[in-house]
Assembly symmetry: C2
Homo-oligomer: 405 residues x 2
Amino acid sequence: MALIVQKYGGTSVGNPERIKNVAARVAQYRERGDRLVVVVSAMSGVTDNLIKLARAIMPLPSEREMDMLLATGEQTTIALTAMALHALGIPAESLTGAQAGIVTDGVHTKAKIQNITPKKVHALLDGGHVVIVAGFQGQTAEGQITTLGRGGSDLTAIALAAALKADLCQIYTDVDGVFTADPRIVPDARKLDEIAYDELLELAGTGAKVMQLRSVEFAKKFGVIFEVRSSLNDNPGTIVKEETKSMEDVVIRGVSLDKNQAKITIIGLSDRPGMAARVFTALADAAVNVDMIIQNISHGSGAPTTDLSFTVDKSELLKAQKVIEGLKKELGYKQVIANESIGKLSIVGVGMRSHSGVAARMFETLAREGINIDMISTSEIKISVVIEIAKAETAMRAVHAAFLG
Amino acid sequence: MALIVQKYGGTSVGNPERIKNVAARVAQYRERGDRLVVVVSAMSGVTDNLIKLARAIMPLPSEREMDMLLATGEQTTIALTAMALHALGIPAESLTGAQAGIVTDGVHTKAKIQNITPKKVHALLDGGHVVIVAGFQGQTAEGQITTLGRGGSDLTAIALAAALKADLCQIYTDVDGVFTADPRIVPDARKLDEIAYDELLELAGTGAKVMQLRSVEFAKKFGVIFEVRSSLNDNPGTIVKEETKSMEDVVIRGVSLDKNQAKITIIGLSDRPGMAARVFTALADAAVNVDMIIQNISHGSGAPTTDLSFTVDKSELLKAQKVIEGLKKELGYKQVIANESIGKLSIVGVGMRSHSGVAARMFETLAREGINIDMISTSEIKISVVIEIAKAETAMRAVHAAFLG
């Protein structure tokens, strides 16, 4: 008899039929004798409609009132989900984030969970109820309604699992789990049975949209083992947990491709101390997120110059270019070049630490395919390269075959 | 500088444009220096859609979960209304019923307000904010979300006005106020400048759908003077208050017509003690609401019999007939006749008490029109007659002309 926290996203509760399917699944677990806490998101489309309503009133609504507005989305779903369980004869009661004891800070639209006092959840579980909790929302100590921002419902589930010391936390979604690569690009991609927190963090950070980083980080911090699995079938999913010795037997866990980056190169930058700092301080001041940074060796005699390259999100390219052009007089560089036709290919795996030659094997594989490497960046469990976008998918398939084929 | 509680119904906040109109009106009052608490309903259509969603899950959903679901309707409107005020540069903050301190009993879907602790409302008013409060909802002392049932938003406004000792309570609707009669039937009908609580109660009880009885009863109990007025123009509305001496100068305040009643007559009922009690106990047990009751004198010799007539809501006619037929053996009556073609015409006014001959004048007027009176019932400030439905509107115009023309 386990205590299980299940989380269902917007697609899984997108209409009354799907909510009934969720109830049927909960009923299965209950028949096994499990105790259940079910976290649900707003029905798909509902949040967007509420945002549209708000924008029709004013372009930039107050964040406090946005939270008041958006919190209704999940509140609607919890009531309907409880009803669907009642229809199956299962005692169930819904709780808003506030009622479930989820206390956050006061940063509206992206509040952080400060603590959870799940008194009511415990009482309802003890009374034999399935407890339905609104994801994505909480309440400040002063009683203000807050929302947790993107991926907030996952966070609610994982934080509740930690607070309740649940035996298992299941994140239901519309894919079967975490894959070795995006199956739409790599037909040979396989679902993983397990993955380490750090691996999932690196994959999520390199373009594989499985879960928001913050939920995984929270799970890692509090040691919450969770399973990413499909609400459309009964297949087991991917277990996400602390890395184990046996995980290192696998050289790499997955391959990801991020096509959403652009590269900026500053040519002929005077090679004096403080120049790079000036560039990246200016970008940070303009709230531009920089990902990879490469500085080549300096060349020329007399006043030596260097070329500095970095990548940013495509959506921030124009802003970044403006910042750099604004520095032209001060820095006295020769030219700025922007390139949107790049892809960032990454391999991730805790096994890298114990297997040598991983980078060499990746570069050889790309060379064999005639693919030029533009930039390289590495972490302890990740190697990323920037390559020409036209060849990025071919490169991904080749690298996947070399390590995971 | 007055403290005003305003209430806007579903039509007045039915879309973003209308919500902006509400904000513009609030801004006008604020410019005058007034402090404002604004109670809003769910946008028209929203509550019905939520009920439809619930019914798609299960035909008879739990009342606790219905409250959880329906409370989202008003929560959406308060956020949007606050945003609309922000767009005009007016500081405003929205509060759910729970946040506004509206504490109810635990009878879900028709909770009663037990008390109001408007601490947050006071704090926000003191801070110069317009306070937007979700109508129709509250919270039990244990933190369960409740709704107040039909007309609940009016009740929220009037109860808040009482708790805040507001100078004025304005109920905005889509008509100009309370009329001497329904203007669709009586072209000469006039808007009333003022009306006594009791008169409005009698009018509402006799088919004039101005406000739910409970809100008027609450206002009377706590002496809350309120104004019913239109959100579509700036005309003054109708002030509802305790009756004054001068109100008695007017013989009758208004005329109403209820076409929603049906009459049942039991013919040849044995005229023994306890027979009527048996009939109405059986009807009460079946939850049939009876309005008017008439028993004619007994006739016949030997075992005298009588005819018993009463009216019920048309929607409950079939149920009532079944109850009476089930008593046939026990009561031994001769026949039951149902008549749906009736109208109940009422005249209402505190002036009746000091003016004699009001009933005679009404009956004479009807006689002059050749209209037969089927049943009569009177209260201290009301006379109702049941007449043939085909002549009911003619009768209404004639009576209106006689007293209010």
